[in-house]
Amino acid sequence: MTFSTVIVRGLMRRPVRTGLTLVGISIGIAAVVALVGISRGFQKSWEKGLKARGTDLVVSNMGSALTPKPFAESVRDQVAKLPHVAATCTLLVELTSIESSQMMILSSREWGGFAWENLKLVSGRMPRDAKEPAVVLGQTAADVLKKKVGDPIQIETSELTVVGIVNGGALVEDGSAIMSLPVLQELAGEQGKVNAIDVRCTPGTSEEQMHKLCEQMNALVPEARAMIASENLSNSQGYRIVKAMSWGTSLLAVLVGVLGVMNTMLMTVFERTHEICVLLALGWKRGRIVRMVLCESALLGFLGGVAGVAIGIAGVKVLQNTPAIRGLLEPDLSLGLFLVSVVIAVVVGVVSGLYPAWRSSRLTPSAALQG
């Protein structure tokens, strides 16, 4: 018999209680995996979308909302004059409900702008001109909305026609309904307004030059803020709030797990007071008793962590297939996130076991003769 047998047997002593504690901690870890995975995935997906469009810089006003605030389309003319700017493309992007989908990205692009270049037609055609009341749907969006080429589509108060299905090279693009800028400006009553300018720099522009270019743009255009594409979303206040909320919710769930494990380990120590005294009487050192309690709670954390990762993955898969948000989630369920989650769970286990372990170390072996 090894020391690990003693640890496992300690947890198996009350299987129902151990199981319920595992459920508690695993829900906390599942929340970490799901929420952090989704928020990270959204960031990655957003960046991938910008990369697919070949965007180096984004000029937008990412305030507290998830979509940027509109500003005058004419800003583009000022931006385009700056050195190292090779091309610009104005966009008006909204998050809105479209028919059966409660949330979908509505992405309108300057007619002829480079943001159309990455869209590969899967079926149908592109809009004929800037004014055609037509929509091309990303493959995921078409799947979610159950639309095919030629179908009508209700957006805001207008009925448009789906003229093509496209592959955008990123989930953000594939999950979007895409149209010409003037069409959405008309629909949304935002004539002459855009909320993003995608900027392509001249080949060979260094990151340092891009940062300087951003500073120049910010000085020139006070109503919007220029950022390197990869930093655009992470600097959004709205995204930061979402990210903070996902971590906050996760930590709250983990805290509940901590209290659960601590309660279980305290109960274990109280219940086993006499047994621990007997072990001390048999010559076990206090350090071994402390190690036993800490190892039990760490194992509880580890098992809860592994179960939590599995539950988190399953939960995200279920969410991905939920009609309300289908096509919008591309969670970043990486091995790194799983490892971090399991490490958090083990740390939770050890921290939760500290007080019970300390209590166990205060017991005296003389109680063994009193039972």
């Binding site: 018999m1 090894t2 009487a281 048999l282 010559g283 076990w284 050192k285 071994r288 003769l369």
Partner: protein, 239 residues
Amino acid sequence: MKPAPLNAAPVFEAVGLKKEFDDGQVRALRGVDFRIADGEFIAVIGPSGCGKSTLLQMLGALDHPSAGTLRYRGKSMAELPDPAAYRAREIGFIFQAFHLLPTFTAIENVQMPMFETERPVHGRKDRALELLKAVGLEHRVNHFPAKLSGGERQRVAIARSLANAPSVLLADEPTGNLDSENARLILDLIVRVQREQNMTLVLVTHDMAIAARASRALQMKDGQIVSASEPAPPISGVT
């Protein structure tokens, strides 16, 4: 009653040993002097609350005396560098209520004291098996305590007490929870082990018939030794 081996070297020497609880309101030991020689079988007898178990706790380093001196093989027990190591290597405990761990099998229970030794995992198992065979339980090694009779549980506890080949056995009413037939068998086993391995045995009991089998009996009353059937020689040089 057999004669005490008075010429043997003392294992324990106690001078003016006192133990008080609750700020002196309870005086469990009120100045106890005794000397126990190597290989002796000492019975400690007396009514409930007379201090027998407290005395056993002092001998097993489970608790500290409030005053007085207790020596083990000439060294003050107050200065034991590691009381846990002393209990693990020098002392074997046998309790009235057996105190086997319920979630471990007989052979696992016997291995418990061996965790604090250098013995390898396989060595521990072999040793536990050997001891369970010696107490006649080779057919019950993988049974949990709940599946064993009272006599069998005490046999497992005896095997456990011998795990690290201690030189001293401390038994607290070891037959108190057994019927008369099992009590006789268990006592025979303890005495046989003590003789075969020339161990020092200190056995606390109410039963005068059991005490009669000891080489000496210490009669206690109100925290004091009121008589010793074979007095130990005078203690000298003990501080």
